[in-house]
């Protein structure tokens, strides 16, 4: 992908987002001028105008770098990581922090290419347990628990 195409896609996405926000502002809940003539969308409207102007400027500027190549990115790594992180957060709510972190690290560390037979198992088990202990007992911050144990 070229830098130009990347920036065009980004600018268009931001213009679409601006459109969605503008539609949101048309809802009845935002009607009324509020005290002293300033309704709740007085300031957001100013910002949205700037948003659109800057997005259009980004779009125009994109053509100046149209042919330059964008930096290489292993998209599959990003998508894999994003999916794994999303599942991790979901699992955290279901089976608690410690167990979900063990599963997450056991999958992610080897998948990213590090497979030391001693360090990986140690990190996978010890790091979540130490973090869990530090939060729950040292900092007094409760973390999500599993359905099988009271505090774990």
């Amino acid at each position: 992908m070229s830098k130009g195409l990347r920036d065009v896609l980004f600018s268009l996405a931001m213009l679409l987002a601006a459109g969605a926000l503008w539609l949101e502002m048309q809802k009845p809940q935002y009607e009324g001028s509020g005290p002293f003539g300033f309704g709740p969308i007085f300031f957001p409207q100013i910002l949205l105008t700037l948003w659109v102007i800057l997005a259009v400027l980004m779009l125009i500027r994109a053509f100046a770098v149209w042919r330059e190549p964008a930096p290489d990115m292993a998209w599959w790594v990003f998508i894999g990581l994003a999916v794994a992180t999303g599942l991790y957060i979901y699992l955290m709510g279901q089976i608690g922090f410690a167990l979900s972190s063990i599963v997450f690290l056991a999958v992610v560390i080897p998948a990213l290419g590090y497979r030391h037979p001693i360090v990986v198992p140690l990190a996978v088990v010890l790091f979540p347990l130490i973090t869990w202990y530090a939060f729950v007992y040292l900092l007094g911050i409760p973390l999500p628990t599993s359905p099988w144990f009271a505090r774990f």
Partner: protein
Amino acid sequence: MDLITNALGLVLQPAPLIAILIGTVFGLIVGALPGLGSVLAISIALPFTFSMDKVSGISLLLAIYCSSVYGGSLSAILINTPGTPQSAATVLDGFPMTQQGKADEALGWATMASLIGGIFSAVVLMFAAPQLARMALKFGPIETFALICLALTCITTVSRGTMIKGLFAGVLGLFLATVGTDQMTGAVRFDFGVFELTGGLSLVPVLVGLFALGEVFSRLAERITTPPEIMSKVGYKLAPLKEWLLRWRTIVKSAIIGTFIGILPGTGAATASFVSYAEAKRSGRFKEKLGTGEPEGVIASETANNAVTGGALVPTLAIGIPGDPVTAVMMGALIMQGIQPGVRLFQDNADVVYAAFVALFIANFAMYAFGAGSARIITRILKLPEPLLLSLVMVLSIVGSYGVSGKLFDVWVTFIAGIFGFIFRYCNVPTAPVVIGLVLGPIFEENLRQGLILTDNNFGAFFSMGEHPIALVLFIITALTLAWSAWSEIRSVRQPAA
């Protein structure tokens, strides 16, 4: 004097001292790891401060700030890769010293120079910030609005080469700050039917997502690196006093340059270290040897970059302007602790502010002690494989955002912010302006609306020389700063084509 005595009493307690020790070690490690840096270190630690009292939380963050800036020099000297951009100039003489088998001496120079720079700037902070705040007490809503306009121009300086994108990111941050209940009308804005959004977006989850998670996604997707080779013996050796005295002019100049540049919004420690290095190259006693492994180069860079720490806190604390991403995060941390940096800070929270000053002094000494004693251990950590390290950072980021409020919703916010952080990095959109906008947004809107009420909806009155001369001066500086940034941007676009 009473304030300082009270502050000493607040900081010299087990909890703040332990916080300083932990913060120093953590900052040192994260700062030394190439690419991670001060912002990420503070972002990761930020959620932990919620379970601490104010003084301990602030002490932890200040210790991380100081030691992470210094930590960058370790990897710069040992593996020719600055751990943080602030230490880029340290590479120029630090690594040649390592190649000559003098890594221990280079670390000695860097550690002591960092201590001197840090202490000098802490002294300046202690005396300059209250004076600046006293002057700023005369500010009403219009002056404060003008001041925030000026503060927002620092977005253009942290977005050099990508000014339009930086400004866009700033507007996005300001917009995100409008999510939730409007303080003036009580209406709920942009909640999209999600109940958790009615209270607005919490700063920490957004910040941790944008900086920490986004950085991890980006680094792992860009390349997988192998641990670097350490080329020579590692330890700590302090040069004799005679050697230091030969270079005292560079130390003093670098400390002043670093502190002054730190006070200027949007410049930062990387600029300070290069300006200071250039000055040493121009006027240093050993200027001909700079670049070949001359300690004066290490001193110039390291004194200046650590002197920025105290300098950058002057506008942050006194007038509520975060000069760079690090201080923007620090300001966010203070706000979440119930302390609003700005004109009334020294009136309302003098005890906490002076405790922060004292903590900054102690943090600098802790940085020196741990820096001198931990070179070998840090070297081992530098050898940790990136996939392992970054996976652990991800877990810390996730659990940290959960810890703030105990809501999984905040973790999802972090996750989404992380994805945006990655996309922004890929699209070369700076992320710091989003945080600057998010932090300054609420007071920006509030003062604009209050100003309009005061002037009976006449925005032109904001620029009245007779009624608001300070505001007018600030608006003029804002306009000039924007014009200068725009001109620099246009020039930088034209130059490659020429």
